[in-house]
Amino acid sequence: MIRKSIFWEKHNLIFQTVAWSVLIIAAAAWLTTFLIGTLGNPFWENSPTVLDRAVSPAEQKVERYRGEWEIPESKTSSHHGSIGRGYESDKWTLCIKCHGPAPHSRTPKERDFLNMHSLFMSCYICHIREQEGVAPARFGWMDLASGLLCSNPKMDKDVWGEYGAKIVPLNSEKIPQPVKLEEEEALAVKLHKDMEQPSDHQKAIRNKFIHRRCVETPVHCIDCHTSEKAFLPYTELGYTAERAAFLVSEKVAGFAKHYETFYVPKPLDTDTQPPKATKEDSK
């Protein structure tokens, strides 16, 4: 039966009527808006977006994940400055949660180089002492996925600093694990969530607590890049003899000697004095 009934069941008819009406009204409204919109303006807005789609995928602008931040990368992937891919972020080191993956920012000459080390070294190695005045003696690799101690990563020839793990100081437990700043982190989380506005004095006290295990004199470049007795045991950490030798060679050590100006992290300054250099640049 082609026409089901002249007098359809009412509910069926109502459904059909409403469905068609909505469809027709929506289509008519869209068409009218579209047609009126073509007057005076081009059919296409945001034409570069259209172009981007048409440009080969290698040319497309991408939002790449670099550490903690989404950074728009406008350069093409063929440019030698293109990062190509994001590296695995460190979700376990407390410092990064506030200071970001590029925490060094004071001295233009040094900040990039120091930040580069945060790719494969925990901030705790240079800036934290688990027990006051006691430099860490045991080091290991922390798996960036789990935050737990892991075996030494495989270091391929052309991989520089990206091993999916970071060098961390180990705690003094029998079965050592990466040092954790649990109390500090708990307070930091509380501070972050705290809706009440603390006074400057309260802020200073809390900051001081969070940074209580920070050292005023961090580990220097030359402490690690020295042929005398390097702070980090490279071979124990899985570095090949060749690469370990390179890290303490004159080529690197001589270079590291230029990095001698270090600033104390600001939260440790309870007064409003300008940043204090622990060791002035010899030049």
Binding site: I25, P42, W44, P48, V50, H80
Partner: protein
Amino acid sequence: MLKKSFIVAIILLLPILCRFARAAEDAAADADNCLMCHRFRGLASVDNEDAYRLFYVDEGLFSQGPHAGVGCKDCHADIEKAPHDDAKPVDCSGCHNVEVPTRENMLAHEKLRDSVHVSVEQDGTPRAFQEDYPDCRDCHDRNFIRYYFTHGATRLRKVRDPCEVVGTCARCHANKAMARRHNLLDVVSSYMETYHGKAVIFGSSKAPDCLDCHAGQGSVHKMHAKMDQRSSINPQNRPATCSSENCHVSASPALSSFDVHTNRDMATSPLLFGVALFFVVMTIAILLPILTLNVLGLVREIFPSHEAEQEVKRLETLVKGKAALKGGILRFPGSLRLQHLFLVIVFLVLCLTGFPRTFAKAQWSPVILGFFGGINGAPIVHRIAGVALLVGFVVHIASIFLKVRSALVKEGKRGIKSYVKKIMSLPMIPQAQDMKDLVVLTKYVCFLSPRRPNYDRFSWKEKLEYLGLFWGIPLLGVTGILLWAVNISSHVLPGWVLNIAYLAHIYESILAAAHIALVHIPSVIGMSGLLSFSAMLNGKITPEVQAQEHGREIERWHSAEETNE
């Protein structure tokens, strides 16, 4: 013999020698061991302006680039020691500013000093908004200089990708704020709307890009303002630019009046605004009243008048006997169904090959166009379908005339008046009764009258659709041919007419497609509960459909039968 062995040995060792040469080149590029630090992806910082800056260098990409043999310090000349402070931006003119290309330095070109893109006037006066003017890297930081070959060979023939060129120019020229500052038009959007721009969007490598018109035959660095007599787009030079090699060689100079960067703005393009307004008003004026009547008609279906129901029942009873005898009521003979099928196929092909280009921005456009061979194949299919439609249209008109002629011969009538009279009496020609039917329908759907209109063989809607073809097909056909044979068209009509033809073609096709999609298809697939599309499948409809849609025809049959009896 010894000489031959030596040559063979050299050939065999060539790959190894090349590898060594490459290694030596790489080593030369990083003689200062910059990669010792710069090969780490983490070499980054937040600068004093809170911008995250990355100083990583991908060794592999660098060694494949055009500057693989260039040392870091050759570009970053201000860096004298490591570690170093922030380096200054690279000044490309350190290498690329030699006066004239020479045999020794093929990549050199004249320094930018006489172009619209230079931030100073020829006499050295700084131009306003200095920061808007591009430096070398604004244009040359893309793939099209990635390869030495591409860069050098572009001087010999076009090897650059138009999309990259347009994208490069769009990076500045699509910036509306910048365009306003420099009193420029929205040239990117308008270009993207032309056939040139759409071809670029769909990845054509042959489509003309910005440089093809604006750089003319000279260096791309000698780009001048439109009103500068040296400019390739100056009104005096445009004919030569349009008819340059690989472009519209056989076109008349009149083609140059075609406005590439036009839009439908009342202030800048009043003529095109008027044309667009005409089509917009016409489309809305035709479709909206019909759609309104259809929606109101749907509502009335829920609450039909008693009189209308009784009338339909009566008509159905009258026609049931006729239908029972013939297994349905024949509505369309085979020849008409064949013509309709032909029209459906051609229309679909035209829509599928045309609309993706009209709506080039849409995500579905490249997918659909891909089925027809992309931007190179689809236009050919579109033109073939267009020609087929025109031929079919002519055949249809010819068949009508032949039928009219044979009818007049039978009746023994002659003369133009007889032809006109006969044609005007054809069932598809609107009559005064159609207007009355429209009034009756309007009253009925607005609940102002209980009387439902009874249509004859064709209702006013069907007549309107049919006559629409006599407006749409010639219009689309003529404008389509003008745009297709653009070089020949330019010998008959000025270029600006093609701007109108282009607009008319697009707007008319939208009207046609919208009418089919919103009015025709819903009415035949059962919007009102009537499935009448069988009329175009087996040619027959049911007594119910006949009674609902063509009641007056039933009465005509009935009175004819009574007369015969």
